[in-house]
Every structure is written in structure tokens, then in C-alpha cells.
């Protein structure tokens, strides 16, 4: 079975397998493409929106999206005047999450950068994530999703209330004063929840930031709620 010939075809087989795996790997080799995928993990979006959110030209975004499409990580569908991109399936989100997790555990630089940035924004003390997660799951606290509405619609933590950050100020009155509030946003690198907590505390609420996003939630195998528009 280990003749010269079979060894060669063996190598060819391996080479083509790893070549395929590299198609997916290459898709995540450019910072901007990772950012686009991150955005798409929050909600489906058009090319123009993605370009604006990630700070690149539309043509460039389109090109990056083409690469992601060819790696089958995202799909595109024409919706009226716009082309709407979305992640191809749930596995893609988990893949991105795995990448992020490795980077977080292995790259000290990443933690340094994040901590600096949070401190500059007067971030509250880092919280014990897992314990908070437990209380959120047990519904012991009021959970606020401070991302834009469309991201909430595309998927949110069950029981969470959508209060986009810009609207938080005018909707304070409708929030419960006596119950503890937990705010979350896109994830550990998003400061919206930090700002939300800052405002809430200033107004006398008991509030905490959860640094997990919907992706972290899903990666733990918990259910995600979609579409429903629970509002305060």
C-alpha cells in the first residue's frame, strides 16, 4: 500500500485538502475582511453600509466581500436597490469567534490595546464575566441590548430589551429603578455598553456591563432570539 505511486497521490490529496482549507484561512488574513465579517455577524448589511462602517471605499469593500463570498463565508442577495450580504451559516460565526478567542488568549498586545482604550473612555472595573452570564441566564437582571435596532432584530440574548445607545437618554424613565441592569453590545471591543452603563449609573441606576456579545452567547451553546421586538 505504500508504493511510490500511492505515496505521491497521497501527497496530492493532502495538498488539495489543505489548499481548500486555506481558502477559508485566506479569507481571514486581511484586517478589513475580518472587520467586515464581524459586522456581518451582528446583522446582514448592504455593501454601502459595510464600507461606511469599516471606513473603506465601496469598491474596496465590494472586492473584500468578493473574497469572502468565494470562500463561501458570506452570501449576497439583491434586495430591491441594494445587495445585502450575510454570513453563510451559523458555523461561520463560530469560526470567527474561535479566531477571536485564540487572539484574546494568546496575544497580550490585544488585551493591552483594549484595556488602554477602555480606560480612556472611563470604563468601569472589569467584571467577572461568567458569574454575570449566569445571572443573565437566570433572568435575575434586566438585560439591555444597546446596539442598533437591526442588529437586535437579527439576533439577541433571550429576554433582552432593545435600547439603542442614542435613545437611552430619553427612555430612562421606562427602565426599572429597583432591578439591576446589565447592558451588552457587539462584544468585548465595543464601548457602547460601557457608555450606557456610565449614563445609567449617573442617573442612579444599578448597572453593569457584560462584555459578551451575541456571538459569545451562541458559542456557549445558548439559544439566540430573533425578530421579536421586545421594547421597554
Amino acid at each position: 500500500m505504500n508504493t511510490e505511486a500511492s505515496t505521491i497521490t497521497h501527497r496530492q490529496f493532502k495538498d488539495s485538502v489543505y489548499e481548500q482549507l486555506a481558502r477559508v484561512g485566506k479569507a481571514m488574513a486581511a484586517p478589513k475582511r475580518i472587520e467586515l465579517l464581524d459586522l456581518l455577524c451582528q446583522a446582514p448589511r448592504t455593501v454601502e453600509t459595510l464600507a461606511e462602517l469599516s471606513g473603506i471605499s465601496v469598491a474596496n469593500a465590494s472586492q473584500h466581500l468578493k473574497v469572502l463570498r468565494e470562500a463561501r463565508l458570506v452570501t449576497a442577495e439583491k434586495q430591491g436597490l441594494y445587495v445585502e450580504y450575510r454570513v453563510a451559516d451559523a458555523q461561520v460565526g463560530l469560526y470567527f469567534h474561535a479566531l477571536r478567542t485564540v487572539a484574546e488568549t494568546r496575544l497580550v498586545e490585544l488585551e493591552r490595546i483594549t484595556r488602554q482604550h477602555l480606560e480612556r473612555h472611563g470604563a468601569p472595573e472589569p467584571v467577572c464575566g461568567e458569574e454575570l452570564l449566569r445571572r443573565v441566564r437566570a433572568r435575575e437582571v434586566t438585560v439591555l441590548d444597546v446596539r442598533p435596532l437591526e442588529e437586535y432584530r437579527a439576533g439577541h440574548i433571550p429576554g433582552a430589551i432593545s435600547v439603542p445607545l442614542p435613545e437611552l437618554a430619553k427612555r430612562l424613565a421606562k427602565l426599572p429603578k429597583n432591578r439591576e441592569i446589565v447592558a451588552y453590545c457587539r462584544g468585548p471591543y465595543c464601548i457602547w455598553a460601557v457608555e450606557a452603563v456610565e449614563l445609567l449609573r449617573k442617573k442612579g441606576f444599578r448597572a453593569q456591563r457584560m462584555e459578551f456579545g451575541v456571538l459569545d452567547w451562541r458559542a456557549r451553546g445558548y439559544r439566540v432570539e430573533t425578530q421579536k421586538e421586545t421594547q421597554a
Copy 2:
């Protein structure tokens, strides 16, 4: 809070975060690097071994390993005359597994290539993975790890017996005739288990191939056994 200035530093922050994430992403952008990481997920190895197993020059392997090291995915340690590389921590294995899973679910080509190759090696019918997994977990079957001994030592499915494929023939007598046998190897792209099953069946054993490897096992959150040398 959304002044021009704060928006700019915001962009800078995001850019540096995604740049860090891309460090990890780039590490998996070359087929050969993925292959090296795959090999390292099975067991720690020296540069020379890795070069030989992946069919590249030592200098080239060393260079790829440097990239993996700079992305902090692997660590190197001098052991006697050789430098031994190993995956930096368990998360890295899960990251590679996530990449592989996405590629498997999304890339039809990968499945086609694999099926062709297995058929050429007279692979038995594809098995129902999850049901087999249950029976392995319940220890209803005799489990054979047909990889080289050092990979078995680095981590194997609990209860599995190490019978490296080349030694299978001479150790047939020591295997139970009446109990069903399940063989596994490095994973879905490795044909050792296929060949083992072929031989076993020819000799009158009831045998099946499990296409999961240790990585798939771990990704499901199951315990992995190390070091111990259970032998038939």
C-alpha cells in the same frame, strides 16, 4: 461623545484590534502552515519531522513555523539536539477545528475531493458519525487508535487501545473476536482507519471506521486521555 476627534481614535482602535486578529488569521492563510498546525495538533514534533511529514524543505518549514510562532499559535522548545514545536494551548486546536468545520460545511469541493480519495482506497460506506460516537462514549465497542504511538501518547480517546497501523497485522490475535471494533486515526482526511477496518474485516472481525479524530472529540467537550499506554 461623537466628536470628530473621538471618531478618529475610535477608528484607530478598531484598526489595531483587527490588525491583531489578522495576525492569527494570516497564520492560517498558507496551505502548508495549516498542514503543519494540523500535524502539531496530533503531537509535538521537531522541525525535521514536520518538514518530512509535510513534504517541504527544512528551511521552509522553519520559516513557516516562525510565522506560526509569531502569531503565538505554537511554541518552540529545545529538547536535546532538536527543537520541539507544539501548539501553544488547547484553544489553538479548537480554532483549527473551527476552520476545518467551516470548510467542511461550506466547501463542496472539499467533500468531493475526500470522497474520491476514499473511494479509490476502497473505503467502506460512510458511517453515521454521531451514533457511532455515542457507542464509543458508552464503551460499547473496542476502540482502536491506529496512529503512531507518539500521537496516541500526546492525547487519545479515553479507553482507546494504541495499535499503530503498521503493527495491526501482527497484533490481530490479541483483539477480541466477538466484540465490535471501531478504529480512528487523525481525522476525516486520514485513511489509516479505513485501511485498518479493511484488514480487520478481511480477517473476520466486525469493524467500523470512525471519521472523528481527537480534535473532533475535544471540540465536543469530551475528555482526552494522555500519556497512558494501554496496549492490546
